[in-house]
């Protein structure tokens, strides 16, 4: 009988190990996140009041871009060295390894983003009441971002200039997440209950976890090997 959970932990651990061995590469989206945060005050205005207004949306846009940057490589190295083909002919279910890989991706991208976000909040004069909502929202939202980016990564894995196409494909799907993500912060700043939009983000993550691995498995089986 196929063992469902073994696939998850095996690929989860392997991808984390691989990321650990390439620490420098993996850290760059986070550094990107922090560096771009300094562009906003430099490019627009350093005034605390204006920054405060822009902060929620800016943080989310940057988290989005950082996730897209790191998503390209999700399946590419496996495709190039033949590991993907071995994955496809493995007797175990395909969805669990995919789930493991995407979770590992989140741990190396979304989680560091969430942890680095207070730093950005500080730089963008985010009101202190919004820090916890920001981190909660980012934790859930970046999970969704990882899963959706993985669909784009699977679709473009065999293409030459896949990265730009990946961004084009995934961007419209990201819009609801950014809407609710920044709303979580905005609600807290305006003194309203921010658990509402947060719950919606949680629901989106639940749907993403349930459906995206299926879509990714279908894409990998249908399209990658020719």
């Amino acid at each position: 009988m196929p063992e469902s959970n073994r696939g998850f932990s095996a690929y989860f651990r392997r991808d984390l190990l691989l990321a650990y061995r390439r620490r420098g590469e993996v850290a760059s989206p986070i550094i990107f996140f922090v560096m771009v945060a300094t562009l906003i005050p430099l490019g627009i205005t350093p005034e605390a009041d204006s920054l405060k207004e822009l902060a929620p949306g800016t943080i989310w846009v940057m988290a989005l871009l950082a996730t897209l940057l790191s998503a390209e490589g999700l399946f590419v190295s496996d495709y190039k060295d033949g590991s993907l083909e071995q994955l496809l002919i493995s007797p175990n279910m395909l969805v669990m390894p995919i789930f493991g890989k995407v979770t590992a991706h989140w741990i190396t991208t979304g989680l560091p983003l969430t942890l680095a976000s207070p730093l950005i909040g500080l730089m963008l004069s985010l009101p202190s009441v919004a820090y916890l909502p920001m981190m909660a929202g980012l934790a859930l939202g970046t999970g969704c971002l990882s899963f959706l980016a993985a669909i784009g990564a699977a679709l473009t894995v065999s293409l030459q200039k896949g990265s730009l196409l990946l961004t084009l494909i995934v961007m419209p799907l990201y819009m609801p997440i950014i809407i609710f993500g920044s709303a979580v912060m905005q609600y807290s700043i305006d003194g309203m209950a921010w658990s509402g939009p947060l719950a919606i983000l949680g629901a989106m993550l639940a749907v993403a976890i349930a459906l995206c691995p299926l879509a990714i498995a279908a894409v990998l089986r249908l399209i990658t090997i020719n």
Binding site: R14, L18, D81, S83, E85, P91, N226
Partner: protein, 212 residues
Amino acid sequence: MVNSSLLTVNDLRFERDDIPVINGACLTLNVGEILQIEGPNGSGKTTLLRILTTALQPSGGEILYRGQILSECRFDYLSNILFLGHQSALKLTLTAEENLSWTTSELPGSVSIMEALEQVGLRGYSDVPCHKLSEGQQRRVALARLLVTNAEVWFLDEPFSALDKQGVQFVEQCMERHVKGGGAVMLTTHQPIGMEPVRRYSLVGSSVGGGF
């Protein structure tokens, strides 16, 4: 009627962009056999192997494993096959041992990883990251996979490429031992195999070619 063949392929067809690549291939693979798929470049040898390992979906025809349609015994079939392709499927940042333990976690075997590495001449290299190995050494790590699993059917795509005489001998010995022990091998190669008995199947016109 008891079907003694390990693998039976009936009228297999594969099209790529409406161009037929494989046109009604029929072949069998029995226990203890080595089947060589012949054909010039581009005749679909790798494609055939890929279809038989289920990495690709055929456009038509059926594949039977021990008399059962593949879709009904997928798990048993895939647990018993090993595929070695052009690409080494090695993670270069991982060590040789880590890469091989990856294979054994899915297809367990009776030979330990250290033993296998010794047999391919890489004793002492087990904890070296693969990117530090030469290409020939990396190829040998990939070949060590043949030793660490108990998979019944081997699908080898150009296993002799980029190997020296010693390497070629090693692979031939592995294949012989494997089929004597009850396994079966299907391979594609340009080079003539210096061992007997090898049955041949030609993909040109998909007619069964010369035999023993």
